[in-house]
């Protein structure tokens, strides 16, 4: 991305700044629109109207909320562990934000083309667990502590099916680099991994059912990793007030929310890179057919963001469909169902890829 902007502007400072700020802007936009859409979609699903007072169709509701949050007093409870308490939201947000460094928005727009992209994302997003545990522990609040413990248990156990599916995909594609994984699923939807990948042959058709199983497993487990309903037991409102960020308010609380929506997009991005062609358009490129080559990266960025938003919408749709799982159900879903299926899937995909 640095090189791309540098070629565009010819200025070192501008290209560095844009490279650094672009993912942050993306996270902010995702949070801004995400919160609005979350409320709108929940309203529509429940046959309500949703926010419609601030601006046209209530579009500025999130902006108003944000301004309110900025004005809030930074109230801290007594007997907290000050250092951990202040560090926790930063750490949670770092875990979410660092993942964006390796996410390819298009063939040009990628923060850093690391060869171990998917591994880096899995590793860095585990930061979140530490942050959540710190938040829960330092708040000196039983609800917060319970929420943090639940969250840690949940994220750690759901990382296993995620990692297993990612492993099977890495085995199939032969690379950890997200750019290469995206490049291999060239620009038509029948070349996507969910439909068996780009190589035509018997293995393509054999792979399809296992790809679908893999997609379902990784979608469920990443949903659990970002603590969203039906896996929102760490912040179960009806049992734990607000879970691990019960004692936070104002901007620190906003950072947790920002991290949640940032994580939603990151997770959707991973799913779409692994199974839905990453930044590739499903119908070929306008730039190719018109002969305008510079248009292609922008088209790719559009398709990537569109796919990310599609999965965010599916997450929201699921959230307002399903009730929350109990702790034991959550654990049995992970250990008894997802992990065995993921292991079998891994083995079968391995055998097919040998064919």
């Amino acid at each position: 991305m640095y090189q791309f902007i540098y070629d565009l502007t010819g200025n070192v400072i501008i290209s560095t700044l844009v490279t650094a700020v672009f993912p942050l802007v993306n996270v902010l936009i995702v949070a801004l629109i995400g919160v609005y859409l979350e409320r709108k979609i929940s309203a529509w699903i429940q046959d309500r109207v949703g926010p419609n007072r601030v601006g046209p169709f209530g579009l500025f509701q999130t902006v108003a909320d944000f301004i309110k949050m900025m004005q809030k007093e930074d109230a801290t409870p007594t007997d907290i562990d000050g250092k951990l308490y202040n560090l926790a939201p930063v750490l949670v947000f770092t875990g979410c934000f660092a993942a964006y460094a390796a996410i390819p928005f298009s063939s040009q727009l990628i923060g850093s083309e690391v060869e171990v992209g998917i591994f880096f994302i899995l590793a860095v997003s585990s930061f979140t667990v530490a942050g959540i545990l710190m938040a829960g522990w330092s708040s000196n609040n039983k609800y917060a502590l319970l929420g943090a413990m639940r969250s840690a248990a949940q994220i750690v156990s759901y990382e296993i099916p995620t990692a297993l599916v990612v492993l099977s995909m890495v085995m199939l594609m032969g690379t950890l680099s997200l750019t290469k994984i995206s490049e291999m699923q060239t620009a038509y939807f029948w070349n996507w991994n969910i439909l068996g990948g780009a190589t035509l042959g018997l293995s393509k058709f054999l792979l399809i059912p296992f790809m679908i199983v893999g997609f379902i497993i990784i979608f469920i487990s990443t949903l659990a990793e970002v603590n969203r309903t039906p896996f929102d037991i760490p912040e179960a409102e009806s049992e734990l007030v607000a879970g691990y960020f019960t004692e936070y308010c104002g901007m620190k609380w906003a950072m947790f929310m920002l991290a949640e929506y940032g994580n939603m997009f990151a997770v959707s991005a991973i799913v779409s890179i692994l199974f839905f062609g990453g930044y590739h358009s499903p119908f070929g490129y306008l730039g190719n057919s018109l002969g305008i080559n510079w248009l292609i990266p922008y088209e790719q960025a559009f398709w990537f963001v569109a796919k990310g938003w599609f999965f965010i919408l599916v997450q929201m749709w699921l959230r307002w469909t399903l009730p929350r799982l109990r702790v034991d159900q959550l654990m049995s879903l992970c250990w008894k169902y997802l992990i065995p299926y993921a292991v079998v899937n891994l083995v079968v995909i391995g055998i097919i890829s040998l064919l």
Binding site: W44, Q46, D47, R48, I216, T321, L322, Y337
Partner: protein, 191 residues
């Protein structure tokens, strides 16, 4: 093993069924009525704020007597013979100045018992239901159309008239006393 696969299948299938239902609801129009902008039409015999058409009121005080919470206060002043108060819309002749017709709607229990006894049907329930106030005094609705000056004038008129009448009576009595009837035997007092 059979139940295991069955559970898996049921898990996926029921989630999809639920998602189908919520997806349908995504496109059903909202049932919300956005109140201040959109108002439901009230039923015909709705009981809300009381209204008194004071032009038709004859000051009979029947509504005030019917009221179980005594929220209606009526004061009247008799008219003197020369005055014409007009008639009500159903042809009754008015004989009393209604100097005060206060309804304390804060006390009102919306029982509608005041509405039925009214001979001229001048007190009735309207469909106005938004009448909250910041001060309780402002919930006392004054329906009398007479100003304070007019009320004092009417009272003065009546007093004058009564005084005149009294004076006439006294004069008549005095005249009677001054002209005793000699034929009539003196009546002994009954008690």
């Amino acid at each position: 093993m059979k139940t295991y696969f069955r559970n898996t299948w049921l898990g996926i299938y029921t989630v999809l069924v639920g998602m189908k239902i919520t997806f349908k609801h995504l496109f059903t129009p909202a049932v919300t009525i956005q109140y201040p902008e959109v108002k439901l039409k009230m039923p015909d015999r709705v009981r809300n704020r009381l209204y008194v058409n004071i032009d038709d009121c004859i000051g009979c005080d029947q509504c005030a007597r019917a009221c179980p919470v005594s929220c209606i206060t009526i004061d009247t002043v008799k008219s003197i013979p020369g005055e014409d108060l007009g008639t009500t819309s159903n042809g009754k002749k008015k004989a009393l100045w209604v100097t005060k017709f206060d309804i304390d709607i804060a006390k009102c229990c919306f029982c509608q018992l005041c509405v039925f006894p009214c001979p001229t049907e001048c007190i009735y329930m309207t469909d106005v239901y938004e009448f909250s106030e910041y001060e309780r005094e402002r919930l006392v609705y004054k329906f009398s159309s007479l100003t304070e000056e007019e009320v004092n004038q009417k009272k003065l008129n009546l007093e004058k008239f009564q005084a005149e009448k009294e004076a006439q009576k006294a004069a008549a009595a005095a005249a009677a006393a001054a002209k005793p009837k000699p034929d009539a035997p003196a009546q002994p007092s009954a008690n």
